[in-house]
Amino acid sequence: MLLEGLMAVLQPFTIILIAIGTVVGIIFGSIPGLTATMAIVMFLPATYSMSASQGISMLMALYIGGISGGLISAILLNIPGTPSSVATCFDGKPMADKGEAGKALGTGVVFSFFGTLIGIAVLIVLTPVLCDFALKFQAYEYCALAVFSLSMVIALTGRDMPKGLVSAVLGALLATVGLAPIDSKPRFTFDLFQLNNGFALLVLLIGLFAISEVMAYAEGVRKDQSFTVDNNAKIKGAGFSLKEGIAQIPNCIISALIGVGIGILPGIGGGVSCMISYTVSKNISKHPQLYGTGIMDGVVASESANNGTIGGAMIPLLALGIPGDACTAMLLGGLQVHNVAPGPLIYEKSGAVVYAIFFAMVIAAIFMMLFMLLGMRFFVSVLKVPKNYLLPVVLVLCAIGAIGNANMLFDTYCMVGFGLMSYLMIKSKIPTVPMILGFILGPTFETNLRRVSQLASSDKFWSHPIFCVLMIATILVVIFSTRANLKEAKRAEAEEANS
């Protein structure tokens, strides 16, 4: 079966399909507003006439390219191409501003590749074990996981904790719009059918990052600001030295494993994994104060994690038939179209196709790295396009992405609304990133909290060790992060008083 899978992928036509899929995925991922999910949706019909191995290989290439491409706009424009690359902006953009765009892109690309490989390795080796573990996650565990992930907000907020918390709560509050979980009663929809499904994450992301970037530029028009970013540094190889790369290996492994772990759990996804791994990387680093100023570590943490999530998300998809997010739901559709039934018997019934998927993922990861490294000089040249032309065009692409999300013009109105909200938040020194965490985790928390309330009479929490461990971890994170933040705030106050 292993050889059969390998032979199916090593056909010239399949390799061409994987190459095309990777390039298209990178393009979709790099344009803010277009996502890997859209790429898979659009290319799914094109795979109908192909064999299972060919079709699924192409879809996998679109998935990997789509997740990886997000780093390009995150680094060059400070606008994440996909939710998975939100944390890449934190250090990627400052690096680009320092004239190290090539190094930031190279770091992102290479460690995206390693993150993907680690994810695939875990997928191949540990699928049965991890599926058993994932099945242990029920209402109690998901509820605790959501609380634990939300507690990470405190670490992300920095010196102004209340404002960071406001942002996270606002995100969770926005997620209450739409049909309520479990009983499907409409909440805060104001009788608008367009709000029944709530706000889309993509639309929120565009509003928060793309519009605010245009407004930040608009603010400086009368000041003597440059139209382009100075990036004359010559890019050699991947943009960073071997020594620098080797120093990042532990960071990459830890972050990729966090990505895999979060990827396994349905409903959490790459958007959360990149932020959690960034926070963890910052907390365990010897120089946490440098995070956010433009260092490789931040880009490595974010990119290794979001690509590790790919392998993680494939585990429940293949072994249990449970898609973790919209992207894997589309892949599930693709598998079913090609008569591959995911589930515990997938190795017995479609073993060759499963191995073909693994090999296709590896080849797509190699193509992704090659194409992105080769295209790096071209990507960096985007910075030479005057921003007064570039930003409006990007905003139009974002509007198209918002419309294409659900083929509704209404989403563009929300996009502008979120843009205004984001601008006001930035002016009030309220960070916008915790809002994404609150928005993603709010529904997971609510659904499982309400399920727990139903179970609590017969199923006590102490019979759930994972729940207990996560709650203890949450308490520890809250205590240590609050202490660190208070120290930082006191130091800042003292500095302010001295100046």
């Binding site: 404002k163 805060f188 028009v221 013009l409």
Partner: protein
């Protein structure tokens, strides 16, 4: 930054957040709940109350912090400057204009159509993001960029990627 702007960064957002959370909390009782068989002990009101309450507490926290900072500022002999709305609007002219044209762009895209609105929006936004002394040299390139992008994106996304971009007046021409 003006010295007194530091406490305003807390007072104004604190008031807005507190008022917003009160409005949000006042909307919660109006949500219909399901109380039939299989309903959960925690209704769909619980989490909105939780988030709304948390936001109210945080809003008040920031507001009180701002008031304390203001008191400390006054005690230290600082003078409170009055906010000049006219000056404020003038300082943010480009931002306000950008939001207005963006709102008009998405608001009129349905009836007028993607292509004409995108041409107008791109042209106007490029000019807004360009210092006025460089406008003369920008008119023609801005118009060319606007025309090419609008037509290219419309063709690519509507006809090749099946995104339902509004046709608007182009419907009359069968495009």
């Amino acid at each position: 930054m003006k010295k007194n702007a530091k406490y305003m960064m807390d007072i104004v957002p604190g008031i807005v957040i507190a008022l917003f959370s009160l409005w949000y909390l006042s909307m919660v009782p109006g949500i219909k709940t399901f109380t039939g068989m299989g309903s959960t002990p925690l209704t769909n009101h619980f989490v909105p109350y939780l988030w709304g309450g948390a936001l109210l507490v945080l809003g008040l926290w920031i507001l009180i912090r701002g008031i304390r900072k203001r008191a400390a500022f006054v005690k230290a002999g600082g003078t409170i400057e009055k906010f000049d709305l006219k000056k404020g609007i003038d300082e943010k002219r480009e931002v306000i204009l950008s939001f207005v044209i963006l709102a008009l762009y998405v608001g009129l895209m349905g009836p007028v159509g993607f292509v004409p609105m995108t041409i107008l929006y791109l042209f106007a936004q490029i000019l807004i993001l360009t210092p006025t002394n460089k406008w003369k040299r920008t008119y023609v390139p801005a118009l060319i960029v606007a025309l090419i992008c609008a037509c290219l994106f419309y063709y690519l996304f509507r006809y090749k990627l099946n995104v339902l971009l509004p046709q608007g007046i182009l419907k009359n021409f069968g495009l």
